[in-house]
Subunit: 298 residues, 2 copies
Protein backbone atom coordinates (compact mmCIF):
# COMPACT_ATOMS: atom_id res chain seq x y z
CA UNK A 1 0.00 0.00 0.00
CA UNK A 2 1.46 3.34 -1.10
CA UNK A 3 0.89 5.84 1.65
CA UNK A 4 0.31 9.41 0.48
CA UNK A 5 3.01 12.03 1.12
CA UNK A 6 2.26 14.29 4.08
CA UNK A 7 3.74 17.64 5.06
CA UNK A 8 2.81 19.55 8.20
CA UNK A 9 2.75 23.35 8.30
CA UNK A 10 2.55 25.46 11.48
CA UNK A 11 2.11 29.14 10.55
CA UNK A 12 2.00 31.73 13.35
CA UNK A 13 -0.25 34.76 12.85
CA UNK A 14 -0.11 38.08 14.73
CA UNK A 15 -3.74 38.00 15.85
CA UNK A 16 -4.89 36.17 18.98
CA UNK A 17 -7.95 38.19 20.05
CA UNK A 18 -10.27 38.69 17.08
CA UNK A 19 -11.90 35.29 16.52
CA UNK A 20 -13.45 36.37 13.24
CA UNK A 21 -10.05 37.18 11.72
CA UNK A 22 -8.67 33.83 12.93
CA UNK A 23 -11.66 32.00 11.42
CA UNK A 24 -11.15 33.59 8.02
CA UNK A 25 -7.46 32.67 8.00
CA UNK A 26 -8.24 29.08 9.00
CA UNK A 27 -10.91 28.94 6.30
CA UNK A 28 -8.35 29.95 3.65
CA UNK A 29 -6.30 26.89 4.68
CA UNK A 30 -9.23 24.47 4.67
CA UNK A 31 -10.26 25.74 1.22
CA UNK A 32 -7.03 24.35 -0.17
CA UNK A 33 -7.99 20.82 0.92
CA UNK A 34 -5.71 20.67 3.96
CA UNK A 35 -6.61 19.19 7.32
CA UNK A 36 -6.50 21.66 10.21
CA UNK A 37 -5.36 19.75 13.31
CA UNK A 38 -5.17 22.56 15.83
CA UNK A 39 -5.81 26.29 16.22
CA UNK A 40 -4.35 27.84 19.39
CA UNK A 41 -4.98 31.54 20.02
CA UNK A 42 -3.29 33.38 22.88
CA UNK A 43 -4.69 36.78 23.86
CA UNK A 44 -1.70 38.07 25.84
CA UNK A 45 0.67 37.07 23.03
CA UNK A 46 -1.98 38.30 20.56
CA UNK A 47 -0.93 35.41 18.38
CA UNK A 48 -2.47 32.29 16.80
CA UNK A 49 -0.68 29.08 15.91
CA UNK A 50 -2.40 26.91 13.29
CA UNK A 51 -1.28 23.32 12.69
CA UNK A 52 -2.34 21.75 9.41
CA UNK A 53 -1.34 18.85 7.16
CA UNK A 54 -1.84 17.69 3.60
CA UNK A 55 -0.05 16.62 0.45
CA UNK A 56 2.98 18.78 -0.41
CA UNK A 57 1.14 20.57 -3.25
CA UNK A 58 -1.90 21.42 -1.13
CA UNK A 59 0.16 22.53 1.85
CA UNK A 60 2.27 24.76 -0.37
CA UNK A 61 -0.80 26.43 -1.83
CA UNK A 62 -2.46 26.80 1.61
CA UNK A 63 0.68 28.40 3.05
CA UNK A 64 0.54 31.07 0.34
CA UNK A 65 -3.24 31.62 0.59
CA UNK A 66 -3.26 32.05 4.39
CA UNK A 67 -0.39 34.54 4.15
CA UNK A 68 -2.39 36.48 1.56
CA UNK A 69 -5.50 36.42 3.76
CA UNK A 70 -3.57 37.48 6.87
CA UNK A 71 -2.03 40.39 4.94
CA UNK A 72 -5.55 41.61 4.13
CA UNK A 73 -6.89 41.24 7.67
CA UNK A 74 -4.06 42.10 10.06
CA UNK A 75 -2.45 45.52 10.45
CA UNK A 76 0.97 45.31 12.07
CA UNK A 77 0.94 49.09 12.64
CA UNK A 78 -1.68 48.49 15.32
CA UNK A 79 -0.46 45.15 16.67
CA UNK A 80 0.61 44.83 20.32
CA UNK A 81 1.50 41.55 22.03
CA UNK A 82 4.12 39.93 24.22
CA UNK A 83 5.55 37.53 21.66
CA UNK A 84 8.34 38.83 19.38
CA UNK A 85 7.11 39.12 15.78
CA UNK A 86 7.93 40.71 12.43
CA UNK A 87 4.73 40.31 10.43
CA UNK A 88 1.04 39.44 10.09
CA UNK A 89 2.08 35.93 9.12
CA UNK A 90 5.11 35.88 11.36
CA UNK A 91 6.59 32.51 10.54
CA UNK A 92 5.77 29.53 8.29
CA UNK A 93 7.62 26.27 8.96
CA UNK A 94 7.20 23.21 6.72
CA UNK A 95 7.69 19.87 8.49
CA UNK A 96 8.27 16.53 6.69
CA UNK A 97 5.92 13.92 8.15
CA UNK A 98 5.58 10.97 5.77
CA UNK A 99 7.19 10.07 2.47
CA UNK A 100 8.80 13.51 2.21
CA UNK A 101 12.42 14.50 2.81
CA UNK A 102 13.66 17.56 4.65
CA UNK A 103 15.17 18.71 1.38
CA UNK A 104 11.76 18.65 -0.30
CA UNK A 105 10.42 20.83 2.53
CA UNK A 106 13.33 23.21 2.02
CA UNK A 107 12.36 23.46 -1.67
CA UNK A 108 8.74 24.16 -0.66
CA UNK A 109 9.89 26.94 1.66
CA UNK A 110 11.92 28.53 -1.13
CA UNK A 111 9.10 28.36 -3.68
CA UNK A 112 6.48 29.74 -1.27
CA UNK A 113 8.92 32.38 -0.01
CA UNK A 114 9.64 33.54 -3.54
CA UNK A 115 5.94 33.72 -4.37
CA UNK A 116 5.09 35.65 -1.18
CA UNK A 117 7.85 38.10 -2.00
CA UNK A 118 6.91 38.57 -5.64
CA UNK A 119 3.10 38.40 -5.56
CA UNK A 120 2.32 39.86 -2.11
CA UNK A 121 5.31 42.25 -1.89
CA UNK A 122 6.12 40.96 1.59
CA UNK A 123 9.85 40.53 2.35
CA UNK A 124 10.69 36.91 3.23
CA UNK A 125 13.55 35.54 5.33
CA UNK A 126 14.39 31.85 4.89
CA UNK A 127 15.16 30.21 8.24
CA UNK A 128 16.00 26.89 9.97
CA UNK A 129 16.90 24.15 7.45
CA UNK A 130 15.96 26.50 4.61
CA UNK A 131 18.25 29.31 5.79
CA UNK A 132 20.72 30.67 3.23
CA UNK A 133 22.96 32.21 5.89
CA UNK A 134 24.27 31.01 9.23
CA UNK A 135 22.82 34.05 11.03
CA UNK A 136 19.30 33.25 9.79
CA UNK A 137 19.01 29.71 11.11
CA UNK A 138 17.48 30.86 14.40
CA UNK A 139 14.26 32.89 14.52
CA UNK A 140 15.39 35.25 17.31
CA UNK A 141 18.18 36.48 15.01
CA UNK A 142 15.68 37.19 12.22
CA UNK A 143 13.24 38.86 14.65
CA UNK A 144 15.87 41.20 16.16
CA UNK A 145 14.21 44.59 16.70
CA UNK A 146 10.85 43.06 15.78
CA UNK A 147 8.45 44.66 13.31
CA UNK A 148 9.15 48.17 14.54
CA UNK A 149 12.94 47.86 14.39
CA UNK A 150 13.06 45.92 11.14
CA UNK A 151 11.08 48.68 9.39
CA UNK A 152 14.18 50.86 9.31
CA UNK A 153 16.89 48.18 9.38
CA UNK A 154 15.67 46.43 6.23
CA UNK A 155 16.23 49.61 4.24
CA UNK A 156 19.69 50.51 5.51
CA UNK A 157 21.42 47.34 6.77
CA UNK A 158 22.54 44.93 3.99
CA UNK A 159 22.65 42.14 6.61
CA UNK A 160 18.89 42.51 7.04
CA UNK A 161 18.06 42.34 3.30
CA UNK A 162 15.41 39.65 2.74
CA UNK A 163 15.92 36.48 0.67
CA UNK A 164 12.85 37.40 -1.43
CA UNK A 165 10.63 40.43 -1.89
CA UNK A 166 11.18 44.17 -1.58
CA UNK A 167 13.77 46.01 0.51
CA UNK A 168 11.00 47.46 2.64
CA UNK A 169 8.34 46.03 4.93
CA UNK A 170 4.81 45.51 3.62
CA UNK A 171 2.84 48.55 4.94
CA UNK A 172 0.46 46.40 7.02
CA UNK A 173 1.77 42.81 6.86
CA UNK A 174 5.44 43.45 7.71
CA UNK A 175 7.74 40.54 6.86
CA UNK A 176 7.57 36.76 7.11
CA UNK A 177 10.05 34.02 8.00
CA UNK A 178 9.60 30.86 5.91
CA UNK A 179 11.51 27.66 6.58
CA UNK A 180 11.70 23.91 7.04
CA UNK A 181 12.35 22.06 10.29
CA UNK A 182 11.78 18.71 11.99
CA UNK A 183 8.66 18.34 14.15
CA UNK A 184 8.99 20.38 17.34
CA UNK A 185 8.07 18.80 20.65
CA UNK A 186 6.82 20.94 23.54
CA UNK A 187 7.95 18.98 26.60
CA UNK A 188 7.52 20.10 30.22
CA UNK A 189 9.04 18.45 33.28
CA UNK A 190 7.51 19.21 36.67
CA UNK A 191 9.84 19.12 39.67
CA UNK A 192 9.01 18.05 43.19
CA UNK A 193 9.86 21.49 44.54
CA UNK A 194 8.23 24.94 44.73
CA UNK A 195 11.68 26.52 44.26
CA UNK A 196 11.68 28.12 40.80
CA UNK A 197 15.40 28.85 41.12
CA UNK A 198 16.09 25.12 40.80
CA UNK A 199 14.04 24.93 37.58
CA UNK A 200 15.79 28.02 36.20
CA UNK A 201 19.19 26.62 37.07
CA UNK A 202 18.43 23.25 35.42
CA UNK A 203 17.02 25.02 32.35
CA UNK A 204 20.25 27.01 32.07
CA UNK A 205 22.28 23.81 32.24
CA UNK A 206 20.39 21.95 29.54
CA UNK A 207 19.51 24.59 26.93
CA UNK A 208 21.61 25.00 23.84
CA UNK A 209 21.92 28.77 24.11
CA UNK A 210 23.91 28.46 27.33
CA UNK A 211 26.04 25.54 26.18
CA UNK A 212 23.74 22.60 27.05
CA UNK A 213 22.05 20.07 24.79
CA UNK A 214 21.79 20.85 21.05
CA UNK A 215 18.34 21.86 19.73
CA UNK A 216 16.90 22.36 23.23
CA UNK A 217 15.20 25.58 24.32
CA UNK A 218 14.41 25.62 28.05
CA UNK A 219 13.35 27.92 30.82
CA UNK A 220 12.36 27.52 34.46
CA UNK A 221 8.90 28.68 35.55
CA UNK A 222 6.51 28.25 38.44
CA UNK A 223 3.12 26.65 37.74
CA UNK A 224 0.41 28.51 39.62
CA UNK A 225 -2.08 25.64 39.82
CA UNK A 226 0.37 23.29 41.56
CA UNK A 227 2.81 25.75 43.13
CA UNK A 228 5.64 23.62 41.72
CA UNK A 229 8.63 24.50 39.60
CA UNK A 230 8.72 23.38 35.97
CA UNK A 231 11.37 23.11 33.28
CA UNK A 232 9.44 24.05 30.12
CA UNK A 233 11.08 23.13 26.83
CA UNK A 234 10.95 23.04 23.07
CA UNK A 235 12.85 20.13 21.58
CA UNK A 236 13.68 21.42 18.11
CA UNK A 237 15.18 18.22 16.72
CA UNK A 238 14.13 15.06 18.56
CA UNK A 239 16.24 12.86 16.30
CA UNK A 240 19.43 14.70 17.25
CA UNK A 241 18.47 15.22 20.90
CA UNK A 242 15.84 12.64 21.89
CA UNK A 243 13.27 12.97 24.67
CA UNK A 244 14.84 10.23 26.79
CA UNK A 245 18.21 11.98 26.78
CA UNK A 246 16.67 15.28 27.85
CA UNK A 247 14.65 13.56 30.58
CA UNK A 248 17.68 11.72 31.88
CA UNK A 249 19.70 14.94 32.09
CA UNK A 250 16.96 16.70 34.04
CA UNK A 251 16.62 13.66 36.31
CA UNK A 252 20.33 13.80 37.13
CA UNK A 253 20.42 17.60 37.54
CA UNK A 254 17.35 17.50 39.80
CA UNK A 255 18.98 14.87 42.04
CA UNK A 256 22.16 16.91 42.28
CA UNK A 257 20.01 19.75 43.60
CA UNK A 258 18.23 17.55 46.14
CA UNK A 259 14.90 17.18 44.33
CA UNK A 260 13.19 14.86 41.86
CA UNK A 261 10.97 14.79 38.81
CA UNK A 262 7.32 14.62 39.83
CA UNK A 263 5.87 14.08 36.34
CA UNK A 264 6.09 15.34 32.77
CA UNK A 265 3.79 16.39 29.96
CA UNK A 266 3.89 16.71 26.19
CA UNK A 267 1.93 19.70 24.89
CA UNK A 268 0.31 19.37 21.49
CA UNK A 269 1.27 16.81 18.89
CA UNK A 270 4.24 14.45 18.92
CA UNK A 271 5.60 12.09 16.24
CA UNK A 272 5.34 8.39 17.07
CA UNK A 273 9.06 7.97 16.39
CA UNK A 274 9.88 10.35 19.23
CA UNK A 275 7.88 8.20 21.66
CA UNK A 276 9.25 4.90 20.35
CA UNK A 277 12.76 6.20 20.99
CA UNK A 278 11.86 6.34 24.70
CA UNK A 279 10.79 2.68 24.52
CA UNK A 280 13.99 1.64 22.72
CA UNK A 281 16.09 3.50 25.23
CA UNK A 282 14.28 2.25 28.35
CA UNK A 283 14.13 -1.42 27.27
CA UNK A 284 17.41 -1.45 25.32
CA UNK A 285 15.10 -2.81 22.64
CA UNK A 286 16.80 -4.02 19.47
CA UNK A 287 15.58 -5.19 16.07
CA UNK A 288 12.20 -3.50 16.36
CA UNK A 289 10.36 -1.60 13.65
CA UNK A 290 7.01 0.12 13.79
CA UNK A 291 5.60 -2.30 11.23
CA UNK A 292 5.39 -4.69 14.17
CA UNK A 293 2.85 -2.50 15.92
CA UNK A 294 -0.49 -4.30 15.71
CA UNK A 295 -2.48 -1.09 15.32
CA UNK A 296 -0.81 -0.37 11.97
CA UNK A 297 -1.54 -3.81 10.55
CA UNK A 298 -5.24 -4.28 11.03
Amino acid sequence: MMEPQVVECVPNFSEGRDQEVVNQIVQSIRSCGCRVLDVSSDASHNRTVVTFTGTPARVEEAAFQCTKRAAELIDMERHRGEHPRIGATDVIPFVPIRGVTMDECVQMARRVGKRIGEELHIPVYLYAKAATREDRVRLPDIRKGEYEGLKEAIKVDPARAPDYGPLELHPTAGATAVGARPPLIAFNVNLDTPDVRIAKSIARDIRESSGGLPHVQAKGVIIEETGLAQVTMNLLDYQETPISLVYQHIEEEARKRGTNIRDSEIVGMVPLDALLEVVYSRLKLKGFSKHRILDFNI
Copy 2:
Protein backbone atom coordinates in the same frame (compact mmCIF):
# COMPACT_ATOMS: atom_id res chain seq x y z
CA MET B 1 -14.44 8.98 11.23
CA MET B 2 -15.92 5.68 12.45
CA GLU B 3 -13.15 3.11 12.56
CA PRO B 4 -14.21 -0.45 11.69
CA GLN B 5 -14.26 -3.09 14.43
CA VAL B 6 -11.25 -5.40 14.38
CA VAL B 7 -10.70 -8.78 16.01
CA GLU B 8 -7.45 -10.73 15.83
CA CYS B 9 -7.41 -14.53 15.76
CA VAL B 10 -4.29 -16.70 16.29
CA PRO B 11 -5.14 -20.35 15.59
CA ASN B 12 -2.44 -23.01 16.14
CA PHE B 13 -2.42 -26.00 13.79
CA SER B 14 -0.68 -29.35 14.34
CA GLU B 15 1.28 -29.26 11.08
CA GLY B 16 4.62 -27.50 10.73
CA ARG B 17 6.35 -29.48 8.02
CA ASP B 18 4.03 -29.92 5.03
CA GLN B 19 3.92 -26.49 3.37
CA GLU B 20 1.08 -27.51 1.05
CA VAL B 21 -1.20 -28.33 3.99
CA VAL B 22 -0.32 -25.01 5.65
CA ASN B 23 -1.04 -23.14 2.40
CA GLN B 24 -4.49 -24.68 2.07
CA ILE B 25 -5.38 -23.78 5.66
CA VAL B 26 -4.18 -20.21 5.19
CA GLN B 27 -6.16 -20.00 1.95
CA SER B 28 -9.36 -20.97 3.79
CA ILE B 29 -8.79 -17.95 6.07
CA ARG B 30 -8.07 -15.51 3.24
CA SER B 31 -11.19 -16.72 1.39
CA CYS B 32 -13.30 -15.32 4.22
CA GLY B 33 -11.96 -11.81 3.60
CA CYS B 34 -9.56 -11.73 6.53
CA ARG B 35 -6.05 -10.29 6.48
CA VAL B 36 -3.31 -12.81 7.25
CA LEU B 37 -0.55 -10.96 9.12
CA ASP B 38 1.80 -13.81 9.87
CA VAL B 39 2.29 -17.54 9.29
CA SER B 40 4.99 -19.16 11.45
CA SER B 41 5.72 -22.87 10.96
CA ASP B 42 8.09 -24.75 13.26
CA ALA B 43 9.33 -28.15 12.09
CA SER B 44 10.51 -29.49 15.46
CA HIS B 45 7.22 -28.47 17.10
CA ASN B 46 5.45 -29.65 13.91
CA ARG B 47 3.11 -26.74 14.45
CA THR B 48 1.98 -23.58 12.61
CA VAL B 49 0.74 -20.37 14.17
CA VAL B 50 -1.37 -18.14 11.89
CA THR B 51 -2.18 -14.54 12.87
CA PHE B 52 -5.09 -12.91 11.08
CA THR B 53 -7.48 -9.99 11.55
CA GLY B 54 -10.80 -8.77 10.24
CA THR B 55 -14.26 -7.66 11.24
CA PRO B 56 -15.85 -9.84 13.96
CA ALA B 57 -18.19 -11.57 11.48
CA ARG B 58 -15.41 -12.43 9.00
CA VAL B 59 -13.02 -13.60 11.70
CA GLU B 60 -15.72 -15.81 13.21
CA GLU B 61 -16.42 -17.42 9.84
CA ALA B 62 -12.71 -17.85 9.06
CA ALA B 63 -12.08 -19.51 12.45
CA PHE B 64 -14.71 -22.11 11.61
CA GLN B 65 -13.57 -22.64 8.01
CA CYS B 66 -9.89 -23.13 8.89
CA THR B 67 -10.83 -25.64 11.59
CA LYS B 68 -12.89 -27.53 9.01
CA ARG B 69 -10.02 -27.49 6.51
CA ALA B 70 -7.46 -28.61 9.12
CA ALA B 71 -9.76 -31.51 10.13
CA GLU B 72 -9.73 -32.68 6.51
CA LEU B 73 -5.96 -32.34 6.05
CA ILE B 74 -4.32 -33.28 9.37
CA ASP B 75 -4.37 -36.71 10.99
CA MET B 76 -3.62 -36.56 14.70
CA GLU B 77 -3.11 -40.32 14.79
CA ARG B 78 0.12 -39.76 12.86
CA HIS B 79 1.18 -36.45 14.41
CA ARG B 80 4.47 -36.19 16.32
CA GLY B 81 6.00 -32.97 17.63
CA GLU B 82 7.51 -31.37 20.70
CA HIS B 83 4.72 -28.94 21.51
CA PRO B 84 1.81 -30.23 23.66
CA ARG B 85 -1.41 -30.46 21.59
CA ILE B 86 -4.88 -32.03 21.57
CA GLY B 87 -6.05 -31.55 17.99
CA ALA B 88 -5.48 -30.65 14.34
CA THR B 89 -6.63 -27.15 15.17
CA ASP B 90 -5.16 -27.14 18.63
CA VAL B 91 -6.27 -23.76 19.93
CA ILE B 92 -8.22 -20.74 18.62
CA PRO B 93 -7.97 -17.50 20.60
CA PHE B 94 -9.99 -14.39 19.71
CA VAL B 95 -8.33 -11.10 20.63
CA PRO B 96 -10.16 -7.74 20.81
CA ILE B 97 -8.15 -5.13 18.90
CA ARG B 98 -10.33 -2.13 18.04
CA GLY B 99 -13.93 -1.20 18.84
CA VAL B 100 -14.62 -4.64 20.29
CA THR B 101 -14.91 -5.66 23.95
CA MET B 102 -13.46 -8.76 25.54
CA ASP B 103 -17.01 -9.87 26.22
CA GLU B 104 -17.83 -9.77 22.51
CA CYS B 105 -14.79 -11.98 21.84
CA VAL B 106 -16.02 -14.38 24.54
CA GLN B 107 -19.37 -14.55 22.71
CA MET B 108 -17.54 -15.23 19.42
CA ALA B 109 -15.61 -18.07 21.06
CA ARG B 110 -18.83 -19.63 22.35
CA ARG B 111 -20.63 -19.39 19.00
CA VAL B 112 -17.67 -20.78 17.02
CA GLY B 113 -17.10 -23.48 19.66
CA LYS B 114 -20.72 -24.59 19.51
CA ARG B 115 -20.62 -24.72 15.70
CA ILE B 116 -17.35 -26.71 15.63
CA GLY B 117 -18.86 -29.18 18.09
CA GLU B 118 -22.17 -29.55 16.30
CA GLU B 119 -21.17 -29.37 12.63
CA LEU B 120 -17.67 -30.87 12.67
CA HIS B 121 -18.19 -33.25 15.61
CA ILE B 122 -14.99 -32.05 17.24
CA PRO B 123 -15.14 -31.67 21.05
CA VAL B 124 -14.44 -28.06 22.12
CA TYR B 125 -13.05 -26.74 25.41
CA LEU B 126 -13.63 -23.06 26.15
CA TYR B 127 -10.51 -21.46 27.72
CA ALA B 128 -8.99 -18.20 28.99
CA LYS B 129 -11.60 -15.42 29.30
CA ALA B 130 -14.19 -17.71 27.67
CA ALA B 131 -13.64 -20.56 30.15
CA THR B 132 -16.72 -21.90 31.92
CA ARG B 133 -14.72 -23.49 34.71
CA GLU B 134 -11.75 -22.35 36.82
CA ASP B 135 -9.70 -25.42 35.77
CA ARG B 136 -10.06 -24.57 32.07
CA VAL B 137 -8.65 -21.06 32.15
CA ARG B 138 -5.11 -22.25 31.44
CA LEU B 139 -4.25 -24.26 28.30
CA PRO B 140 -1.86 -26.68 30.05
CA ASP B 141 -4.77 -27.89 32.20
CA ILE B 142 -6.88 -28.53 29.11
CA ARG B 143 -3.97 -30.24 27.29
CA LYS B 144 -3.17 -32.61 30.17
CA GLY B 145 -2.30 -36.03 28.68
CA GLU B 146 -2.37 -34.41 25.19
CA TYR B 147 -4.20 -35.96 22.24
CA GLU B 148 -3.23 -39.50 23.19
CA GLY B 149 -4.28 -39.23 26.84
CA LEU B 150 -7.44 -37.23 26.20
CA LYS B 151 -8.70 -39.93 23.83
CA GLU B 152 -9.59 -42.14 26.82
CA ALA B 153 -10.10 -39.48 29.48
CA ILE B 154 -12.84 -37.66 27.56
CA LYS B 155 -14.97 -40.81 27.63
CA VAL B 156 -14.58 -41.75 31.28
CA ASP B 157 -13.73 -38.61 33.28
CA PRO B 158 -16.64 -36.16 33.72
CA ALA B 159 -14.07 -33.42 34.50
CA ARG B 160 -12.78 -33.79 30.92
CA ALA B 161 -16.20 -33.57 29.24
CA PRO B 162 -16.07 -30.83 26.57
CA ASP B 163 -18.15 -27.64 26.57
CA TYR B 164 -19.48 -28.48 23.10
CA GLY B 165 -19.46 -31.50 20.80
CA PRO B 166 -19.34 -35.25 21.37
CA LEU B 167 -17.93 -37.13 24.37
CA GLU B 168 -15.22 -38.59 22.15
CA LEU B 169 -12.35 -37.19 20.12
CA HIS B 170 -12.76 -36.64 16.40
CA PRO B 171 -11.04 -39.67 14.79
CA THR B 172 -8.43 -37.57 13.00
CA ALA B 173 -8.86 -33.97 14.24
CA GLY B 174 -8.93 -34.65 17.99
CA ALA B 175 -10.24 -31.76 20.09
CA THR B 176 -9.91 -27.95 20.01
CA ALA B 177 -9.60 -25.26 22.67
CA VAL B 178 -11.47 -22.05 21.77
CA GLY B 179 -11.23 -18.89 23.82
CA ALA B 180 -10.75 -15.14 24.14
CA ARG B 181 -7.74 -13.35 25.58
CA PRO B 182 -5.89 -10.02 25.46
CA PRO B 183 -3.05 -9.66 22.94
CA LEU B 184 -0.05 -11.75 23.96
CA ILE B 185 3.42 -10.23 23.86
CA ALA B 186 6.49 -12.41 23.28
CA PHE B 187 9.25 -10.53 25.12
CA ASN B 188 12.85 -11.69 25.53
CA VAL B 189 15.49 -10.12 27.74
CA ASN B 190 19.15 -10.93 27.01
CA LEU B 191 21.52 -10.93 29.96
CA ASP B 192 25.15 -9.90 29.98
CA THR B 193 26.22 -13.39 31.07
CA PRO B 194 26.72 -16.81 29.46
CA ASP B 195 25.44 -18.45 32.70
CA VAL B 196 22.04 -19.98 31.87
CA ARG B 197 21.48 -20.73 35.55
CA ILE B 198 21.06 -17.02 36.21
CA ALA B 199 18.41 -16.75 33.48
CA LYS B 200 16.61 -19.84 34.82
CA SER B 201 16.70 -18.48 38.34
CA ILE B 202 15.32 -15.07 37.28
CA ALA B 203 12.63 -16.78 35.17
CA ARG B 204 11.57 -18.79 38.21
CA ASP B 205 11.34 -15.61 40.30
CA ILE B 206 9.18 -13.70 37.86
CA ARG B 207 6.80 -16.27 36.35
CA GLU B 208 3.30 -16.65 37.67
CA SER B 209 3.43 -20.43 37.99
CA SER B 210 6.10 -20.21 40.67
CA GLY B 211 4.55 -17.28 42.51
CA GLY B 212 5.98 -14.35 40.52
CA LEU B 213 4.20 -11.77 38.41
CA PRO B 214 0.62 -12.46 37.26
CA HIS B 215 0.10 -13.40 33.60
CA VAL B 216 3.83 -13.95 32.99
CA GLN B 217 5.25 -17.17 31.53
CA ALA B 218 9.05 -17.26 31.63
CA LYS B 219 11.96 -19.58 31.19
CA GLY B 220 15.73 -19.26 31.09
CA VAL B 221 17.58 -20.38 27.95
CA ILE B 222 20.95 -20.00 26.28
CA ILE B 223 21.08 -18.33 22.85
CA GLU B 224 23.51 -20.19 20.63
CA GLU B 225 24.31 -17.29 18.30
CA THR B 226 25.45 -15.01 21.11
CA GLY B 227 26.38 -17.53 23.81
CA LEU B 228 24.42 -15.39 26.26
CA ALA B 229 21.64 -16.28 28.68
CA GLN B 230 18.10 -15.10 27.96
CA VAL B 231 14.88 -14.81 29.92
CA THR B 232 12.23 -15.67 27.30
CA MET B 233 8.66 -14.71 28.14
CA ASN B 234 5.04 -14.55 27.14
CA LEU B 235 3.19 -11.64 28.69
CA LEU B 236 -0.40 -12.87 28.68
CA ASP B 237 -2.04 -9.67 29.87
CA TYR B 238 0.05 -6.53 29.34
CA GLN B 239 -2.61 -4.32 30.89
CA GLU B 240 -2.45 -6.20 34.20
CA THR B 241 1.32 -6.78 34.10
CA PRO B 242 2.92 -4.21 31.82
CA ILE B 243 6.22 -4.55 29.96
CA SER B 244 7.95 -1.86 32.03
CA LEU B 245 7.15 -3.67 35.28
CA VAL B 246 8.50 -6.97 33.96
CA TYR B 247 11.64 -5.27 32.66
CA GLN B 248 12.23 -3.49 35.95
CA HIS B 249 11.92 -6.74 37.90
CA ILE B 250 14.42 -8.48 35.65
CA GLU B 251 16.76 -5.49 35.89
CA GLU B 252 16.70 -5.69 39.69
CA GLU B 253 17.02 -9.48 39.82
CA ALA B 254 19.92 -9.40 37.35
CA ARG B 255 21.75 -6.83 39.47
CA LYS B 256 21.24 -8.92 42.60
CA ARG B 257 22.97 -11.76 40.76
CA GLY B 258 25.88 -9.59 39.67
CA THR B 259 24.91 -9.14 36.03
CA ASN B 260 22.96 -6.74 33.81
CA ILE B 261 20.50 -6.59 30.95
CA ARG B 262 22.33 -6.40 27.63
CA ASP B 263 19.27 -5.78 25.44
CA SER B 264 15.73 -6.98 24.81
CA GLU B 265 13.51 -7.93 21.90
CA ILE B 266 9.83 -8.18 21.11
CA VAL B 267 8.96 -11.14 18.86
CA GLY B 268 6.01 -10.73 16.50
CA MET B 269 3.32 -8.13 16.90
CA VAL B 270 2.71 -5.79 19.82
CA PRO B 271 -0.18 -3.42 20.55
CA LEU B 272 0.74 0.27 20.56
CA ASP B 273 -0.78 0.64 24.05
CA ALA B 274 1.76 -1.79 25.44
CA LEU B 275 4.62 0.35 24.10
CA LEU B 276 3.10 3.65 25.20
CA GLU B 277 2.88 2.30 28.74
CA VAL B 278 6.69 2.08 28.71
CA VAL B 279 6.83 5.77 27.70
CA TYR B 280 4.35 6.81 30.43
CA SER B 281 6.29 4.86 33.01
CA ARG B 282 9.74 6.08 31.99
CA LEU B 283 8.79 9.78 31.66
CA LYS B 284 6.12 9.79 34.43
CA LEU B 285 4.07 11.23 31.57
CA LYS B 286 0.61 12.47 32.52
CA GLY B 287 -2.39 13.70 30.57
CA PHE B 288 -1.37 12.07 27.30
CA SER B 289 -3.59 10.24 24.85
CA LYS B 290 -2.70 8.58 21.59
CA HIS B 291 -4.83 11.06 19.67
CA ARG B 292 -1.89 13.41 20.19
CA ILE B 293 0.38 11.23 18.10
CA LEU B 294 0.97 13.07 14.84
CA ASP B 295 1.02 9.89 12.76
CA PHE B 296 -2.64 9.21 13.58
CA ASN B 297 -3.80 12.68 12.59
CA ILE B 298 -2.48 13.18 9.11
